[in-house]
Each structure stands twice: as structure tokens, then as C-alpha cells.
């Protein structure tokens, strides 16, 4: 296992810019087998599905005019960046999406692959790849309808580079969903002191307050890189009930939905009838000289 780890490290350090932070990898390596214990170290991430999946699902349904409630995300291509053991990829796959899950840690991918293998429907709909985001940019230009980066950007090295790569692999008009932690005094007290050191909701050392991202900073980075931020919602974890809920304030956890600007300066969701129709209409002003 140690040699595999060294191999992963070597491959990463050879890339010039990197959104992947090697120190972060080390932390997750030790927990690579614990992903699917619903009541173990990752229980808060499991229960986060109860709000983040409906958030993604309903946002996409509201943007689309053509869907079936029995298979709501059918035909949607999703990239799950930092997929870990596949906790979010699997529900999205069950809702009908074609999901590509990437994670720099091979052990995570191995766990994810094994877990999906027992369900033939999921095994077909989800593909996992051990890779960083930069490594797939070239072969995946404008490939995905949706990118989800949930509980990832607080572990990323170069955030602006990360966002640029997201923009490159996303189709025009595509959606980017991010959930992460704000950088406030409250998030230090609750997110690090209480969550890690006192209550053990998150394994100790998982997060570094320095790398938390305030929503204002994230929003401005997104807007200056071709995205239009549509929604920001605060999230709250209740450690007694083990459940998440939405709240007004973004001072601890929050979720953000942004849309990549389309070619003609309009965000039109891919796959809807209107996009196809408008491309086929002849220009009404052709031949009219200015």
C-alpha cells in the first residue's frame, strides 16, 4: 500500500500546476476503506445527501422542460470532482444521470468501483477514474452538462485553476454545484473545534481553517471566469439528529449553483428543445446592412 501511495505522489508532483494538494491526499488515504459505513467517519457526508441531492435534482429539473419523474436526470452527463468513495455519484446515477467520478486517490476509486459493482444499473451509469481535474481537461473539453464539487474546494491547492478547469470541461450553459465551508470565526469554532476536536463528527485534521473559502471570494472567482452565480444557500448540520438542513446564513456551510455562460452570452441549458430550435432558425437580419 505504501508503494502505491508513493506512485500516486510521484505522478502528481510531475504536473506543473496542481489543484491537488499532496498533504490533503495523505489525510484521506488512511480512511479510504471507511466511506460506506453510514454510521462511521463519513456519516455526516452520507446524511448530506438528503439535502444536496434534492438541491441538484430540483435545480436541474427547474431548468429543463423535458424530463420524467421516474428517471429525472436521464440523459444528463455529470462530472463528480473529488468523488471519494462515490457517496454522491451513486444517488445521481440512480436518478438516471451518466456520472464520471474522479478522485486523485486510487484507493478511493477502488472503493467506489467495488461498491458500485454489485448493482448492474449503477455499474453501467457510473465510471470512476483516478485522476485530478487538470488531467482530464484535454480529453473532456465541453463534455459535461453538470459538474458537482461537493466538500472539495476547501481541500484544493489552486482554487482559480480549479475553476478554470471546471469551465473548460463544462458545456456552455452547463451547471456547476459547489458545497463547501465558509471562513469565519463561527466556522472555526463549529467546523474545526467542535466538529473535529470535541464531537468527532469529522476525523481530526480533515480541515484547515486557512483553506476555507468565503462565499464572496468564491462568487467573485466564478464570475470573473465566465460563470454566473444563480443560488447561494447556507447549510446547517445538527449533530444530535445527524441531519442537515438549509438556513439563511452562510456563515458555516453553504451550497452554490453557478451556470457557465453560453456562446451567445445567454445561459441556455443543454438538451432542451429551445436550444436546438434556435440554432436551426435562419437569421432574420441576414442581408440587412448596418
Amino acid at each position: 500500500q505504501l508503494s502505491l501511495f508513493r506512485l500516486t505522489m510521484k505522478r502528481l508532483s510531475s504536473t506543473s500546476h496542481s489543484s491537488v494538494d499532496s498533504k490533503e491526499l495523505k489525510k484521506f488515504q488512511l480512511l479510504a476503506h471507511k466511506w460506506w459505513d453510514e454510521e462511521g467517519e463519513y456519516s455526516a457526508l452520507h446524511s448530506m445527501n438528503d439535502i444536496r441531492v434534492p438541491f441538484i435534482r430540483d435545480t436541474l429539473l427547474n431548468m429543463s422542460s423535458n424530463y420524467h419523474l421516474g428517471n429525472p436526470l436521464s440523459g444528463v452527463k455529470i462530472l463528480d470532482v473529488g468523488c471519494g468513495g462515490g457517496l454522491l455519484s451513486e444517488p445521481l446515477g440512480r436518478l438516471g444521470a451518466s456520472v464520471t467520478g474522479i478522485d486523485p486517490l486510487e484507493d478511493n476509486i477502488r472503493t467506489a468501483d467495488q461498491h458500485k459493482s454489485f448493482d448492474p444499473v449503477l455499474a453501467k451509469r457510473i465510471q470512476y477514474k483516478s485522476s485530478s481535474l487538470e488531467e482530464i481537461v484535454e480529453e473532456c473539453m465541453e463534455t459535461f452538462d453538470v459538474i458537482v464539487a461537493s466538500e472539495v474546494v476547501e481541500h484544493v491547492g489552486d482554487l482559480e485553476m480549479f475553476i478554470k478547469c471546471c469551465s473548460q470541461v463544462l458545456k456552455p450553459g452547463g451547471s456547476l454545484f459547489i458545497t463547501t465551508i465558509n471562513k469565519t470565526q463561527l466556522s472555526y469554532v463549529l467546523g474545526i473545534v467542535v466538529a473535529e476536536k470535541i464531537m468527532g463528527i469529522v476525523p481530526e485534521g480533515t480541515h484547515e481553517w486557512e483553506k476555507f473559502v468565503p462565499p464572496e471570494e468564491l462568487e467573485s472567482l466564478l464570475e470573473s471566469n465566465g460563470f454566473s452565480v444563480k443560488t447561494v444557500n447556507g447549510m446547517l448540520y445538527n449533530p444530535l439528529s445527524g441531519s442537515w438542513s438549509w438556513m439563511e446564513s452562510t456563515s458555516i456551510n453553504y451550497a452554490m449553483h453557478a451556470v457557465k455562460s453560453g456562446v451567445q452570452g445567454q445561459s441556455r441549458p443543454p438538451g432542451t428543445l429551445s436550444e436546438v430550435e434556435s440554432e436551426q432558425q435562419p437569421s432574420a437580419t441576414a442581408g440587412t446592412a448596418l
Binding site: 441531492v53 419523474l69 421516474g70 440512480r94 436518478l95 454489485f118
Partner: protein, 471 residues
């Protein structure tokens, strides 16, 4: 919430222990498991509750792409039109259950076959004059008496309508279940393995046990069941009335040996459900038809169990009540008298009560009699089962729309909490009523007499009891 945490810790501990106890040779090899068909939901038991569960899920929009299997040991039951004679197994269907059945189109079939609505329930004591009448203010139907065969036929039709989603295995018995190990050990299949009598194997992401009060699913899942055999059997029969009447009243009289109930089937026929001692039940089955009819009439009309003391005390209480609430006590109606019994329609079956300590486990849920078994005196048995279905289907539908793993304990526990909260008090109350009415001892008779009279006179209490029987 601290209780919830303790519950979660307790369950975690049990899961760990349970996993250690059950791990080992019964876990299948991966290659064998890979060959068996995988279903999202397998319902074991194709009675009224199991079939309705499969049909509800099959008609749920969020289950459009899911695969459901229903296992039933018996043959397929469907009627295009009912035989002339009535079946002796009938159920009292509450309006709430009727709503559930109409939500997936089954109620229309029931109505097109046959059923009898009733508007009123009169319940009275053999040892006193006390009586209580249940009826809705707006003269709506309180409930419906429907033959079980009619319900089954309606359910079969609606299962056929979703045959692309629900696969029904008739004349199929499950003989063994293999449970998955706790989720985080990922080498073996995470699904429930089901072995059928003919050697075939199925896999399920969620197994629903609807296989009756002797549930095999419950036993194999090692879920403890609190059970108690009553020293009573129920005698059922189809009776023909002496004269045609509106027959929209359900009658029940509490005899010291047990309650006798007359449930309307048509203007001239009613179904009998008589709970009594095993010996008396056997006698009733053995006697000739005339004597049987005489016994039934006597049970409803005779005052032999009255005592002067009780009658006086009861009359005093009634007088006191009428001072407080002049219109409080209802008029006593007289039950119809019986002329003949349908030949071959007499049957008996033993009675008991049961309640599973848990309704759910990892990838398993119990519904209907598998989870709880009650005395027929309140006419609630199948309605509790339909209530279970409505609740479980609601949670599973939401889980499917969230992309969740259908067998996950998280939403199964929500179902369990909701239903246990509803069921436990009702089941306990029925058991208490059964015991309270099984005696001739004066103090208890007085208690229940006054209780019944008071309940009858106080509208809020009476309405509450009626509403309580909604699933």
C-alpha cells in the same frame, strides 16, 4: 433527541453484535450471487397486504424504472364476476383504506364486483344495558364490508396493469433468506439473498415481509415477537336475515365468552364473526343449521347475563348523564334476526395477538400481520396493514426520488417510528378491551358499563375513537 441518540447507539451496537453472530458460512460466493436476478424490492407474501404493497409501489411514478417482485405461495386469484354465494372471509375496510386502494385504481374494481357500505356501528354489552353507537355526523359511510376475495381480485387486476414493473411469482415459496453483512465490509454481496423452493435464487435491495402472523421473514431476521394466544377461536359464517332491511349497521355484542359481530353483506345477508372459547366454537361448527341459527339469535337478544345490580347502577348513571346532556344517549336499535345459515360457510380459526419489537432491520421491513396481529373485535386488522403500506410507500417513494439506496435503514426507521407510534396504542387498547369484556365480575362490568355510557354521551370522545380507526 438524546433518546434518539441512545437508540442509534443501541442499534449500532446490536448491528455490530448481530453482524458477528450471523457472519460466516451462509454468506454466498460472489460468483453465485452475480447470477441471481437483482430486484429493487421483493415483497414476500401475496395476501391482501403484500399484494397491495407491490401494487402501490408499481404504480408509483418514482418507481417507474425499478424492478419489483412479489412472492406468493398460493395460486392466482381473479374473478370477472363473483359467485352467487358470499365468501365467509370478509374485512371491514375503513375510509382511509378505501382511499389507499383508490389511489392506484383498485377501489373501482371492488365497487364493480361487490361491497356493502355501513353507516353506523352499534356496540353493546351482554351484561348490562350499556351501548355505544358510532356514526359520522354527515351520514357518510363509516366503512365498507368487503369479501377478501373481492379485494384480492381487484389487487390482481392492478398488478397486471403494471406487469412491466412488478413480477408476480405465484405458487412460489421462499425457503431461505441470507442477510448481508454490515455495509462497510465490501467483499460480499450487499443484497438480501432469497432462495426459492424450486432452487431459484433472487436478490433484493429491500425485502418486505408481508407473510402473515407466522412470518418467516421475521423469524429468519431474528426479530423478536411479543405474542400471546387468546383462549378463543373465531367462528365465521354467511347468514341470511329473517327479513330484508336497509342493513347498513354493523352490530357487535360483547358476551362474556367473547364478542359476536354481524357485518352487513347485502339487504338480506350478513357475515358472522363470533369470537368464543375453543370448545364452544367447535360445538357451533358441529351443531345442525337450525341450532346454529338459534344460538346466533340468542346471543344477540338474550338478557340472561344481566344482573339487577348492574341494571340499576346502569340506569342511575344514565339518568345522571341525561341531566348533564339531555340528548346524550342514543336510541337503541334492534339487530336483525337471522333465519338461515349458508351451508358449508361455517369455519373457525384460532385467535391471538402479536407485535414485533422491531418493524425494520437492515434491508428488511415488516408490514401487516407479520408486524402486528390483533383481535378482530375492532375490525382493524387489515386496516392497520393498509396504514403500514401508505406510510412505507410514502418513505420509499421519497427515497427513490432522492436516489437513495432503498434498503437503507435511515428511511426504514422513519417508517417504523411513525407506525409504531400509531399502532402500539391501538393494539394495546384492543387487547385491553378484549380482556375487560371477557369477565362477568360486577366491578369490571360496572366499569365498562359506565365507561361505555359515558363514551357514548360525550361527542368528542366518541368522535376520537371513530377517527382512530383510520389507518
Amino acid at each position: 433527541t438524546s433518546a434518539m441518540m441512545a437508540g442509534v447507539c443501541g442499534r449500532r451496537l446490536l448491528a455490530v453484535l448481530g453482524g458477528r453472530l450471523r457472519a460466516g458460512p451462509r454468506a454466498p460466493l460472489r460468483s453465485v450471487a452475480a447470477a441471481a436476478s437483482l430486484y429493487d424490492v421483493v415483497v414476500s407474501g401475496g395476501g391482501m397486504v403484500g399484494s397491495a404493497m407491490a401494487a402501490v409501489l408499481g404504480h408509483d411514478i418514482h418507481f417507474h424504472d425499478k424492478k419489483i417482485a412479489l412472492l406468493e405461495a398460493g395460486p392466482r386469484k381473479e374473478y370477472d364476476c363473483m359467485p352467487d354465494s358470499y365468501s365467509n372471509r370478509v374485512s371491514s375496510i375503513s375510509p382511509g383504506s378505501a382511499t389507499l386502494l383508490s389511489s392506484f385504481g383498485a377501489w373501482d374494481h371492488v365497487c364493480s364486483l361487490r361491497l356493502k357500505p355501513f353507516r353506523r356501528m352499534q356496540v353493546w354489552d351482554a351484561c348490562s344495558e350499556a351501548m355505544i353507537v358510532f356514526e359520522k355526523d354527515d351520514l357518510d359511510d363509516m366503512g365498507y364490508i368487503v369479501e377478501n376475495d373481492v379485494i384480492m381480485s381487484a389487487l390482481t387486476k392492478q398488478l397486471d396493469a403494471v406487469a412491466d414493473r412488478v413480477e408476480v411469482f405465484y405458487e412460489t415459496k421462499a425457503v431461505g433468506y441470507t442477510w448481508p453483512l454490515p455495509s462497510h465490509s465490501c467483499d460480499t454481496s450487499p443484497w438480501v439473498q432469497i432462495e426459492l423452493a424450486d432452487g431459484r435464487r433472487l436478490q433484493a435491495k429491500l425485502l418486505i415481509g408481508a407473510d402473515g402472523h407466522n412470518s418467516v421473514v421475521r423469524k429468519e431476521a431474528e426479530i423478536k415477537n411479543i405474542e400471546h394466544q387468546y383462549d378463543q377461536s373465531a367462528v365465521v359464517a354467511t347468514l341470511h336475515l329473517a327479513e330484508a332491511t336497509d342493513n347498513n349497521v354493523a352490530w357487535q355484542r360483547f358476551l362474556p365468552t367473547g364478542p359476536i359481530a354481524l357485518l352487513p353483506l347485502s339487504d338480506t345477508a350478513s357475515s358472522l364473526v363470533w369470537s368464543t372459547s375453543h370448545e364452544h366454537a367447535s360445538e357451533l361448527l358441529a351443531m345442525d343449521e337450525e341450532s346454529f341459527v338459534d344460538s346466533v339469535n340468542s346471543a344477540f337478544w338474550s338478557n340472561v347475563n344481566h344482573s339487577d345490580f348492574i341494571d340499576t347502577a346502569g340506569a342511575m348513571f344514565r339518568a345522571a348523564l341525561s341531566l348533564l346532556k339531555p340528548s346524550g344517549t342514543a336510541v337503541r336499535q334492534l339487530p336483525p334476526s337471522v333465519a338461515t345459515v349458508d351451508p358449508e360457510s361455517r369455519a373457525m380459526f384460532p385467535l391471538g395477538m402479536g407485535h414485533a419489537t422491531h418493524y425494520v432491520q437492515n434491508r428488511v421491513a415488516l408490514i401487516g400481520d407479520a408486524a402486528h396481529r390483533v383481535h378482530p373485535l375492532a375490525g382493524q386488522g387489515v386496516n392497520l396493514g393498509f396504514g403500514d403500506i401508505a406510510c412505507l410507500a410514502h418513505h420509499l417513494s421519497a427515497a427513490a426520488f432522492n436516489g437513495s439506496d432503498l434498503g437503507s435503514l435511515k428511511h426504514l426507521l422513519k417508517f417504523e417510528t411513525e407506525r409504531q407510534r400509531h399502532n402500539v396504542s391501538l393494539i394495546a387498547a384492543i387487547d385491553v378491551l378484549k380482556r375487560l369484556y371477557s369477565t362477568k365480575l360486577a366491578p369490571l362490568v360496572l366499569l365498562r358499563t359506565w365507561g361505555l355510557q359515558a363514551t357514548n354521551a360525550l361527542p368528542p370522545v366518541k368522535v376520537r375513537i371513530s377517527l382512530w380507526s383510520e389507518p
